[in-house]
Chain length 375, copies 2
């Protein structure tokens, strides 16, 4: 194994760990902001770091199409290109190929598709995906997988996960071990406990630096998602990090951490920030709503981000209404800070053995709703 993972404490199924990469350590449970095309949208890298993030996610699909993996390599790799000196996890490109590109053709070898940017043809195989991620100099490389849509019949899911297992073996063979760089497998199997178990067993036979749970947050309800975690996570090796892909809302993070997940990524804090949604301890707030237009109070009292320290809800409402760039920037910043603060609280609670208390208070605060009415 090339990536060190230290388990520092546990509290029930929840784990407090530390992942050591070629670009620094990552305290887990960790949330990874999504830096799709070589930028966490609207944020300077130094400000992403200031929110507490120690690792960001880069999208292989976007970067291979523009500016191109070989170009990024010539320019010194993705860390240098985007001026992010800390850890980077890259996805395999498979998910975006399925959701964004046109004219996809899936074969045993891989997937051929047309770019959503210029219509050009591209082929992505397990080996090419690993090669692209090496060119980007990713710290954590993800295997190419097939992610069936929610509602796919069971027999198709079973066939799909076997393809994912064969691709995982090819990815492992193609991956060049380097200190501080690692490869994660991805457990598929839809909502079926036995298929999840089979997928996990296949991947553990191959052996990876970490294990992701894929194919969730694709339309199923929260109970279904948590049920899949209940049957999947206990089958994964305790000494390796576990990454729940593409999830989620703050409540999802709390519940998944309680079930033993160590890593997360999601576009929600950045994407919803750009459209005027701010996350608080008492739930999500839509700053577009006219009730904020005369409110001199900060979005959240206790928050240390610039949006909350320097501006009122009235001003944030104005910026969102006027479609000002600064509105998107400030709410993105706040949301990233909110997510990192939540992860910090979860880590502290696990260390203290008080996760159940934290979890109860977390749910109670959300039940109270947004801050009390003025005056």
């Amino acid at each position: 194994m090339s990536l060190r993972f230290d388990l520092l404490a546990t509290d029930g199924a929840a784990r407090r760990g530390r992942l050591t990469t070629a670009h620094g350590t990552v305290e887990t449970p960790a949330f990874m902001p999504v830096g799709t095309a070589g930028t966490v949208k609207g944020m300077l890298p130094e400000n992403v770091a200031a929110t507490g993030a120690e690792v960001v996610l880069g999208n292989t699909y976007h970067l291979m199409l523009r500016p191109g993996a070989e170009r990024v390599a010539r320019l010194g790799g993705l860390h240098r290109f985007m001026n992010w000196p800390r850890a980077i996890l890259t996805d395999s490109g498979g998910y975006q190929v399925m959701s964004l590109s046109e004219l996809r053709q899936l074969t045993e070898d891989g997937v051929t598709f047309r770019s959503h940017i210029d219509g050009s043809y591209h082929h992505l195989s397990p080996e090419r995906s690993v090669e692209i991620q090496r060119l980007l100099n990713s710290d954590v490389t993800m295997v190419l997988d097939e992610c069936p849509r929610f509602g796919t019949p069971r027999d198709e899911v079973a066939n799909s996960l076997k393809l994912t297992s064969r691709w995982a073996a090819r990815s492992r063979a193609a991956f060049v071990d380097r200190p501080g760089h690692g490869l994660f497998g991805i457990v598929q199997g839809g909502v079926h406990a036995d298929l999840r178990a089979q997928s996990a067993a296949d991947l553990m036979d191959i052996g990876f630096d970490g294990y992701a749970v894929g194919g969730l947050a694709v339309g199923e309800d929260r109970d279904t998602m948590l049920g899949v975690l209940d049957v999947t996570v206990p089958r994964l090796p305790a000494d390796r990090p576990r990454y729940l892909m593409g999830v989620g809302k703050p409540v999802d993070l709390v519940e998944a951490v309680a079930r033993g997940i160590d890593m997360f990524d999601c576009v929600l804090p950045t994407r919803s920030g750009r459209t005027g949604q701010g996350f608080t301890r008492r739930g999500a707030v839509n700053l577009r709503n006219a009730r904020h237009k005369d409110d001199p109070r900060p979005l959240e009292d206790a928050c240390g981000c610039p949006a909350c320290r320097q501006f009122s809800r009235a001003y944030l409402h104005h910026l969102i209404q006027a479609r000002e760039i600064l509105g998107a920037v400030l709410l993105t910043w706040h949301n990233l800070r909110h997510y990192q603060d939540l992860m910090g609280d979860l880590r502290a609670a696990i260390e203290a053995g008080t996760l159940e208390t934290f979890r109860a208070e977390f749910h109670a605060a959300r039940a109270r709703g947004d801050i009390d009415p003025m005056g």
Copy 2:
């Protein structure tokens, strides 16, 4: 007079001064970034200040329509609303009424128009414009003026400037003197030397804290604009600041400073930054151009802004191509820093009595064009 202006040095017609407002001092010659709707687009106020700016411009037209002047006043004034503790100059709203709104009707009393945002009806008189700017708590209030389009016949320009003079007198009567707050008149008269002289004389009879030159940068060529300055600026009182409205490119600033202008505003550094143009000592650079896509060098070697210190031209090109918010933010930041650095150099040259040398070197650097081709 309510605004103190100290003339510290001169070099030919150029002046080195200091304007003292209720919200701090402004070293002149000064460039004012445009904060249209209560935000310098894409920039945190602390970063605008870090570029060297000591005063920003707010647009009365935009702010009166959204969020509304009375609302800003209830929220503590524009400085507090936008978290900009330094000086603010507000325009009168007249220019944007003419360029942005619909269904304008101009009478002796003022102008009635429909909002470009929601079609609502509004009336702007000299008195209401002054009142709005007081509600915003502007440090420098501008009188409502009429700005004839470029190419307007001479007799219409003559009638228009007399209306502007009558409105200026009404504005002066409506303005409430407060320490550190002042009112500027606006010289009109198109390209006609005698009309400019008449307008300046009218305004000086009324008496203002400062004198703006309006009605330029509306389509005329640079020689015409500078010719108007040549016949107008010498007629303005030496002990009061002179403000050239809406101008301009770096070369315009250098030439206008050499002719005795003290203050400038222009959307160019912010607006062109959002579309991929970066200003350098060797001229403007279009980062959208494919020649930058493999260039590891900074936009400008000597620049201290984050765009130049942290990123390559290749990365900036990528951000602009991908329409990423960070591209707009970084080039806006760079351009504002470039403009402030230029003003700082001009101030230093005037103090040293070397403005002519600086001016010659400025033009020579631009004649050499963008940085040398890569090795």
